[in-house]
Symmetry: C2
Subunit: 467 residues, 2 copies
Amino acid sequence: MPVNSFVDYPMSWKPEKDLLRRPIYQSLAAKLEEDIMNGFLSPDTQLPPQRELADYLDINFTTVTKAYKIAEQRGLVYAVTGRGTFVSPTLKGVDAVSAKEVPRNIIDLAPVSSFEHTNSRIVECAKKTLDKRYAEQLMNYYNPYGMPHQIQAGIYWLKQFGIDTDPAHTIISSGAQNGIAISLFGLFEPGDRIAVESFSYSNFLELAKRYGIRLVSIECDHMGMLPGELDAACKKSRIKGIFLMPSCSNPTSVVTTPRRRSALAAVIEHHNMIVIEDDAYAFISLDGDTRFGNPLQTLIPERTVYIASVSKPICSGLRTAYMVFPDRFKTKIESASTDLNIKTSSLDADVVTEAILSGAAYDIMKVKLKLAKQANAIYSDIFDPLACIGHPNSLFRWLPIKPVKDFHELEHQMLERGLKIFHSARFLAGPSQPEQYLRVSLTAARDLKELRRGLTLLRDTLKELGL
Amino acid sequence: MPVNSFVDYPMSWKPEKDLLRRPIYQSLAAKLEEDIMNGFLSPDTQLPPQRELADYLDINFTTVTKAYKIAEQRGLVYAVTGRGTFVSPTLKGVDAVSAKEVPRNIIDLAPVSSFEHTNSRIVECAKKTLDKRYAEQLMNYYNPYGMPHQIQAGIYWLKQFGIDTDPAHTIISSGAQNGIAISLFGLFEPGDRIAVESFSYSNFLELAKRYGIRLVSIECDHMGMLPGELDAACKKSRIKGIFLMPSCSNPTSVVTTPRRRSALAAVIEHHNMIVIEDDAYAFISLDGDTRFGNPLQTLIPERTVYIASVSKPICSGLRTAYMVFPDRFKTKIESASTDLNIKTSSLDADVVTEAILSGAAYDIMKVKLKLAKQANAIYSDIFDPLACIGHPNSLFRWLPIKPVKDFHELEHQMLERGLKIFHSARFLAGPSQPEQYLRVSLTAARDLKELRRGLTLLRDTLKELGL
DNA sequence: TCATTTGTGACTAAACATTTC
DNA sequence: AGAAATGTTTAGTCACAAATG
């Protein structure tokens, strides 16, 4: 073995051979984890090729494969056939995107919540709910997936988004994320592949990774995911499902065009995939003028789980989302729901039901849509509207910035200047992308005035940092 | 190859060699699934040994291992080293234990709910909740794991069960099952082993299997799990966690004695395991006279996730449970909670909080405890009280019966006579047990009169069937 | 275009652990 | 007590597929 070659062209990672214990692949993976966590190996560093490391350690190269695989499953590295294995740019655990109230001196541009100005109406609905004859029944064990009249109200609510369903194919979950978890658990197994847009909803990515789903990152443009790329990826390996938000992708705010939806549906159909369609932002397209196309559920209902939370259009605190699915998924979805929740909250669902049936929900939705338009107008005042892609009423914007090396550092610098905001790296499904962005939430500031202050501060800070 | 030997001593399963496509292990697993689902292979049938089948099919025997492994993960078969591989007695999908209201002519002895007579008090609490100053805040996006005052109320509530915790180590989940899912997701990975009692909570078993947890069934007696057996199992292979309900095991109703709890704690400590302690039935021990011992959480808090739902003591419809955990689990638990739920329902939690702070919860608990005692008295009228093991106030009883071949058939026969009830096979964590039981829920009948009718009918039916 | 580099997946080989008799 | 039967785990061989230059 030409030992000297290792000295001349040092490998990026040289684990000490003596420290390896059997099982080799496990101790190698542990060492790798340690060195990444300690920062010895920084993001996007290329690791030694399997064969080279194996040669150096005097072991079989598939033993290295196995060690790298474990690290990949833990989100530490990613590998591309023909190119190599690299340290992951998003380190797991750093990027839980959850909403905690920020201190008064910070302006929150991070979580996409919903304008909370309308919640007094919801409290009224809740009061009316409790005066109903059947109020006591909201407190019992039955109807784990929603009471019949609650389902009916959901079906009615979904009509405005173009969904046509019935009680046998509709249930209530404890919010969209919970519905996504139910879909993953019920219809997929660890090891299955799911296609996602190259920037995708971070909470989905985290959940899927945790469950052992192998994410396949598909390239996109300003009209949505590229059908050709999806088709190519499907030809490479069996991809069982796809996660999409065609009405307004989080975080990019891109709307998938009707033509693109049809093309994607054809590819999906052809490769016999399952769609998880998260239609959280459906309501922002309901302003009469524009038509953005129908949900994928209407194009390929036999392979789509459609999930519509009421978080954004009605109220973010109530844990209620509607799930629509074809017959063949029914048992699987319901038993996954039982496994994760036993039952959903009948009380929350009934408050939503009251809001829908009384019309309050529609009023609230209009107010929120108006606020979204106002917020976007403010954004356009401050940032170049021409550079602004995506849905005009989106609750968040996708702001291109010059690439930085360490996205945590940038987020930290922002925080020090009084802004909480998320960098695009948090939404990365696969390898690093050359372009970088900030996802600018328009909904988490305390009011529109604060939003304007925050966006102005953001613009100035970016200028100051030369981004 | 001595082909004739196969003819002389036919294997229990002979997949056609010609039908095998590559990848062999997958097509073999698919064939196995098909033949089990079709009923060609009945429960507890022993499959051919890996080597024998491999020989017959002319493939390497570890390829058969892989096929069997897949089937095991799907819950179709179970394998015991040294003994063989067998068709699973509980076929997945058949046994989702979820509560659906039964027709009027059926008496429900199946789900363990809670006596629902007290829910009007809860509706009152809910109304008071909505009159609070902060009612609007219940509808927003913040406090994903519970609002501070809700956590405080939880801490206060848990004191009566012997739990001493603080806000930094306590969160609210959307019910106990959801809390269990959070614990599994946050602290375990697919492939990890978790020890369970040989008859254990079916919803836990299903969830764990789905997540790829390898369940290790530990033998028990009338005082709880046998510490020696646990220790032995731990020495065999690394067992990362254990699921226990020491205050009243579901389905056996066994209370783990204080001495046994200490012994188990020592074994758990020694093998560095994580405990998931589901204390759903803590309240049935609060009748002053008896002391049943403290939760494991008090013995080994540094390794215990303690979960106490309010379903049984207060109200089963509200999706609220308290989770208590040590510092080192905090981040993991919280991020798993985000992955599964984003947030828990603040409204549900606040109704529970109001019930606790107003004292209503304690009143309700007393009523439910009294009802539990009455129900048990009725049971003792009808079935031999001497044969009755377990907690005297248990919400369900564990009734020994003579073994039957097909438990589904027995359940079906019961249903035809007007009784919905679950057979012990549904709660089996591992291989079949020689003893069989029925889990008799005392809480799902519409009232105590109906319960008496149901239990009488049960006794008579068992006599009629010769069990 | 084609050879090279690099990762993937399926199957094989061998050592090991447990149960049974 | 020890041999045989049987499942488990780890490591290795080999054919193949994708990216690169």
